[in-house]
């Protein structure tokens, strides 16, 4: 019944307090102008104080936690300030807002793992127009919209590292097989073709025969079954290479509880958290992947070199990357981290991703 009048009372209260704050704001506005000038001056100094923004695909992802830790280590060595921001979900539209924010802040450099190769390009262009250097890592955009891409590994590097590991583990001779993802997976097929090539042409591998390539379609159960079939069809098999994280984990799970444990070697590309139990109990001696920490570290040094004007991102530019040594920019503005990183019993405890 009294609703109306009480409501007015409430509104008077709310509006009055709002109006009061508004009046205060009139004074604060001058402060705002002053603040703007102050930040402008801060922007001028940023030639000395390097500000960087790290934008992974999403937050709360252990892989990117490791790369950000590497970036922070590098930023500490460089005396730069680095801030990690990112969306909850790995979607390009959410990433665009953070790229826009970096442009507004006028940060010196933006290090981003792209959620889409083209969708975030307009936003990156605007950030670059605002003077921000943009470096992609882990996942690239179209080459024309960023300054540099820090690539975790080349296809050649991944192929030859896996052969090196399997050859070492089987003593340089015997039958091996490959457990891949799907039959039309672009990455895996490129690596397999390079491995076949190198097996034929490299005299070190003259006594190794590749007897079969099977496909687990990156499904855990199918990879598991294919491993079982491989071992039954090829009784003399000495080693399996699985260049996919799903495949290597499934194959390791099969080997762990079979008579082949310790007799058939297994290597490939895997993540430490998935492979930890198998490495610790000896099912797997070693496997490869890149070290995301080094990736973030290198991306940070590369960004700093761009911002400081040491390099422009063109082919042939060289820069120092702290503990990792000197790097050269390759074609299309790509910097390659190096050979894949080998995880074994001695170092797997240092990684959590």
């Amino acid at each position: 019944m009294k609703f109306h009048t009480q409501r007015s009372a409430a509104l008077v209260a709310v509006t009055l307090s709002a109006a009061l704050t508004l009046a205060a704001c009139g004074g604060g506005d001058d402060g705002g102008g002053g603040g703007g000038e102050a930040t402008g001056a801060g922007g001028g100094q940023s030639g000395g104080d390097l500000t960087l923004t790290m934008l992974p695909k999403n937050l709360g992802n252990p892989y990117f936690d490791v790369s950000t830790a590497g970036a922070e280590e590098a930023a500490g060595e460089l005396g730069a300030s680095i801030e990690q921001v990112g969306p909850e979900q790995a979607s390009p539209d959410a990433q665009v807002q953070y790229i826009n924010t970096a442009a507004q802040q006028g940060v010196g450099g933006l290090i981003v793992s792209a959620n889409d190769p083209t969708a975030i390009c307009d936003a990156i262009d605007e950030a670059r127009d605002a003077g921000t250097k943009v470096v992609t890592f882990d996942s690239d955009t179209s080459p024309d919209c960023r300054d540099l891409f820090v690539n975790q590994a080349t296809a050649e590097g991944i192929a030859s590292k896996q052969l090196e590991l399997i050859s070492e583990q089987i003593g340089g001779e015997g039958e091996i097989a490959i457990l891949s993802a799907s039959a039309n997976a672009t990455n895996q097929n490129a690596w397999i073709a390079m491995m076949e090539d190198e097996l034929k042409n490299n005299p070190d591998y003259a006594n190794i025969q590749l007897v079969d390539t099977v496909y687990g379609d990156d499904e855990d159960q199918k990879s598991f079954d294919e491993t079982e079939a491989l071992l039954q069809n090829h009784p003399n098999l000495k080693g399996i290479v699985s260049p996919t994280t799903v495949g290597i984990a499934a194959a390791a799970r099969y080997l762990q509880n079979s008579q082949y444990k310790g007799k058939v070697a297994l290597t490939g590309l895997g993540t430490p958290n998935q492979m930890r139990p198998y490495v610790e109990d000896g099912t797997v001696t070693s496997f490869a992947l890149w070290n995301p920490g080094d990736l973030g570290y290198l991306a940070t040094y590369a960004t700093a070199a761009l911002v400081n004007g040491e390099i422009t991102g063109k082919e042939g530019d060289t820069f120092e990357a702290g503990k990792l040594g000197e790097y050269t920019v390759g074609p299309d503005g790509v910097v390659v981290l190096g050979d894949p990183f080998v995880f074994d019993k001695d170092n797997i405890g240092d990684f959590d991703f």
């Binding site: 009294k2 009480q6 705002g32 703007g36 909850e88 390009p92 539209d93 807002q97 006028g106």
Partner: protein, 355 residues
């Protein structure tokens, strides 16, 4: 007793300036201005040249969809399927364009499908008589499912530059995005529709009392159908903008946008029970949420904290009105003669409802 029936109009209880200024909408607008002032003064780089452009670009889909959503909620209904229509329209634009259709043709098809989606919602709610909450939760899943089904987990990104530039461009040399032009036109249309037309009076009447509205000659079912269709079309348009702005058609585009729209509408003073609310309050609500999100991002605050701030703000805005009313009711209770003013206030309330 042959007294001729004369019509007695209750005098306005408050002078004009009070009725204009002491409203929830004014409070929200004032709060928005305060927050903008705070951000300009305290948040580094908020006063930069890019802020306005990004702010409007980011909030444009919410601003657009909030227009029909306001009318839908004023009738006491709700449309939860808007974000899924955005996603579906985005996917259609991508798939049809990939199939060789020009962007305008594909866009027109997407708008038609948006209208069809709205018609489905509207018919089920208005003519079959199902609760809109249930219907649009269903179509939320349905439209999103179709969108993701059509394109899978891939994205279409090869849109002609001329069209993506249109979505990311600004009006002349200013920092006002081009999308604000169709938005301004829609604001005019929806303002006329809601506040200056018999249709709009009907919208409020339905929200206050659907039965009474029907007896007083309001086409309840037709009005609701029209609103859901408008909601579908405007959502589809927002989907086209969303797609071209990011140059990426994906099935999961704009997931969860419906909650941001509804939060802004409620923050803007629209009653979830219907019958109350005005467009300028809603637009201020959208801008308020956009400014808070943008300022907190510039401060380097994570998105979770931003969500907490906006959630608390929404709850406070809903609770504060009820709380102040309760407290002042307690204070006024002992006063005698309050029952005598009851009929008068109730008639005033009816007169001021929705105004």
């Amino acid at each position: 007793m042959s007294s001729t029936p004369t019509r007695a109009y209750a005098p306005y209880s408050q002078p004009l300036w009070k009725r204009v200024l002491l409203t929830r909408e004014s409070a929200i607008i004032a709060l928005t201005v305060v927050v903008i002032c705070w951000a300009l003064a305290a948040v580094p780089n908020f006063d930069g040249p890019l802020t306005l452009k990004y702010l409007l670009q980011d909030t444009a889909p919410i601003l657009l969809i909030a227009l029909p959503m306001t009318l839908v909620i004023i009738t006491g209904e709700i449309d939860l399927s808007v974000a899924s229509i955005v996603g579906l329209s985005s996917v259609l634009l991508g798939v049809l364009h990939q199939g060789g259709m020009s962007v305008p043709a594909a866009g027109a098809v997407a708008l038609l499908v948006g209208a069809a989606c709205g018609t489905l919602n509207g018919v089920l709610v208005a003519y079959v008589g199902l609760p809109s909450l249930a219907v649009t939760i269903g179509t939320l899943a349905l439209f999103r499912g179709v969108a993701v089904g059509l394109l899978g987990t891939t994205a279409v990104t090869d849109f002609p530059e001329a069209w993506t530039d249109l979505a990311t461009g600004t009006v002349g040399e200013s920092s006002v995005p081009l999308v604000m032009v169709p938005f301004a036109a829609l604001v005019v249309v929806f303002t006329l529709l809601l506040h200056f037309s018999p249709f709009g009076r009907g919208v409020y009447d339905i929200g206050l009392n659907g039965e009474a509205a029907r007896f007083s000659g309001v086409h309840v079912a037709r009005t609701k159908l029209v609103l859901f269709v408008l909601s579908g079309v405007v959502s589809a348009f927002a989907g086209l903008y969303f797609t071209l702005r990011f140059g990426s058609a994906r099935g999961d585009n704009a997931t969860g946008l419906e909650l941001q729209v509804i939060a802004a509408v409620l923050l803007g003073g629209v009653s979830i029970f219907g019958g109350r609310g005005r467009l300028h309050g809603v637009l201020a609500g959208v801008v308020l949420i956009g400014v808070i999100a943008s300022a907190l991002r510039l401060e380097g605050v994570t998105v979770n904290v931003t969500n907490i701030v906006i959630g608390v703000l929404l709850i406070v805005s809903v609770v504060s009105g009820a709380l102040v009313a309760y407290v002042s009711g307690r204070l006024r209770r002992p006063r005698p003669g309050s029952s005598a003013e009851a009929p008068e206030t109730s008639s005033r309330r009816a007169a001021s409802a929705g105004a």
